[in-house]
Amino acid sequence: MTKTNLTLAEKVWNDHVVVKGENGAPDLLFIDLHLLHEVTSPQAFDGLRLAGRPVRRPDLTIATEDHNTPTLDIDKPIADPTSRTQIEALRHNAKEFGIRIHSLGDIEQGIVHVVGPQLGLTMPGITVVCGDSHTSTHGAFGALALGIGTSEVEHVLATQTLPLKPFKTMAINVEGKLRAGVTSKDIILAVIAKIGTGGGQGYVLEYRGSAIRDLSMEARMTICNMSIEAGARAGMVAPDQTTYDYLKGRVHAPEGQDWDEAVKYWDSLATDEDAVFDAEVFLDANTLDPFVTWGTNPGQGVSLNDVVPSPDSFADPNEKAAAVRALEYMDLVAGTKMKDIKVDTVFLGSCTNSRIEDLRSAAAILNGKTKADNIRMLVVPGSARVRLQAESEGLDKIFKDFGAEWRFAGCSMCLGMNPDQLAPGERAASTSNRNFEGRQGKGARTHLVSPLVAAATAIRGTLSAPADLEDN
């Protein structure tokens, strides 16, 4: 029986089933686009080599270098020998298996989740995978985009398919209008605080409602990016005119008749009006404040106008114990105003918030200001092209005049795999996606924030919103 009232995720799924699973076996799905980076692929290529298997579809596969790459002195050999080995392994594997690669120094190099959309390879209605949990980013186009492990990377390289078990669907309805100074980052941090880091487990999330429709593509990418932080397998937004306007004219976007056919198909993807989600969540955009995290998982977040919560405020014993541990690690006292928390470093970057709009919005706040004395600020564009675009608009000059460091593209301080790390005990306001213990360096403390909060914080030296600057 064919269901006629389907959600966006179900439609994309159904159109990619190669073999329908029977007796509890998963469906075998075709994968339209496979993105690779240096960290999760070497063991997959080794597996192919051992089994004597080729890459089935090099023409649907693309690699870039991002996690290990330095953001300074990129013309010099990578200093860390293990990082260098991993990058060299990717280059070698790409050559041996005939895969397109954008290496450090190449104009298309950058964070894998910035590069795919920028090239026009990420499109509505396709399946995208990458050995990286933030692959969910690409769902902003209405693609079904899944983060996978290395065994699955090998599976996709060998077969261009993946056996997948069906997901449940969850609607995240965000209605209303965001106030000035509130962004899509605040929406997703509020969603995660609401449903928890395991709340999306087993689900594909679909972000819906007037507040989502009003967002730009880049803002939608920020939301979908952090779907994994709610435990979801993927996050999606139905394609619309905003999507098409962003995509049209990009180098790998369809052209001519192909474009017209594609749009016709993409228009059919939106969730049917009578479709039923397995779960629904509602969030009021009108009343949303800038959101920040206080703890060591992305669900431990509050309004910036709030205080550090007391562990006793959590009914669940696991959450309570996690809060006690988090406050100890973060060196915070319950009841402290979030805005009184002094930070050492501000990081503007990562696959969550390193696109041109993120840089523009932060630069608009920093323009003509000077940074607080206690602050070090890193600005790391998501790709070489974003960096060039920013420079053509003079944003680099604004950042440098402000006292920030203007870097080359990469994952940078989001995770401790390259030279950009926090010192033990150092505290950061970070536009990245994870505030786990040690994520930004051993013993480092992370507060997740939007680019606007990052900018205001760099000016005041304590966690701040742009509105706080007007009080001065």
């Binding site: 089994a51 649907l60 060998a158 786990f436």
Partner: protein, 199 residues
């Protein structure tokens, strides 16, 4: 992959929720390009703490981890499973696993068995009353037995079958190669292609 039916080993109580993969294996160890030799990396930050459970001689040679809810959240790194496996773990029991971690476990023959929160507490109590006690994981019957206490765990039927049979996923999929070829022939022309590269 080796077939898995039953296994007995020392149970380790990890009384924490939200154990993310950055804690299971910090990013610094992800620079290696091998698939083995990650035993030193497992929980490496936490192992600096003398109080950490794996530093207790009773649990040092543990092979079945009993953890709090939301185990394996965060990064997709399969290295987390490799590190658990290389240390000697054959199974992890928790009331809730992150999806990607659960998938990765199934590929590497590590049992990720879901048990109720109530049974988690019971197992913790039984282990703490008798540190170093053995637990038996029976994949055929989906049970974990520790002395008098037997709890049921769930694992999806397909993964269980593959682990019992020791089957390789890629080999299974390639049995359907003709279906893949047929599907490829039907794909519309507007779909993305990375090659030839356009500038």
């Amino acid at each position: 992959m080796e077939k898995f039916t039953t296994f007995s080993g020392i149970a380790v109580p990890l009384r924490r929720s939200n154990v993310d993969t950055d804690q299971i294996i910090p990013a610094v160890y992800l620079k290696r390009i091998t698939k083995t030799g990650f035993e030193d990396a497992l929980f490496s930050s936490w192992r600096n703490d003398p109080e950490f459970v794996l530093n207790d001689p009773a649990y040092k040679h543990g092979s079945v981890l009993v953890a709090g809810p939301d185990f394996g959240t965060g990064s997709s790194r399969e290295h987390a499973v490799w590190a658990l496996r290389d240390y000697g773990f054959k199974a992890v029991l928790s009331s809730k696993f992150a999806d990607i971690f659960k998938g990765n476990s199934g590929k590497q023959g590590l049992i990720a068995g879901e048990i109720s929160e109530e049974d988690t507490e019971k197992l913790w109590e039984a282990i703490l009353n008798n540190p170093g006690v053995e637990i038996t994981i029976d994949l055929v019957n989906r049970t974990a037995t520790l002395g008098e206490l037997t709890v049921e765990f769930s694992i999806d039927e397909y993964t269980r079958w593959r682990l019992l049979e020791g089957l390789d996923d890629i080999g299974l999929t390639l049995r359907d190669e003709s279906s893949i070829t047929d599907f490829e022939a039907r794909r519309p022309n507007w779909m993305p292609k990375t090659l030839p590269a356009k500038q």
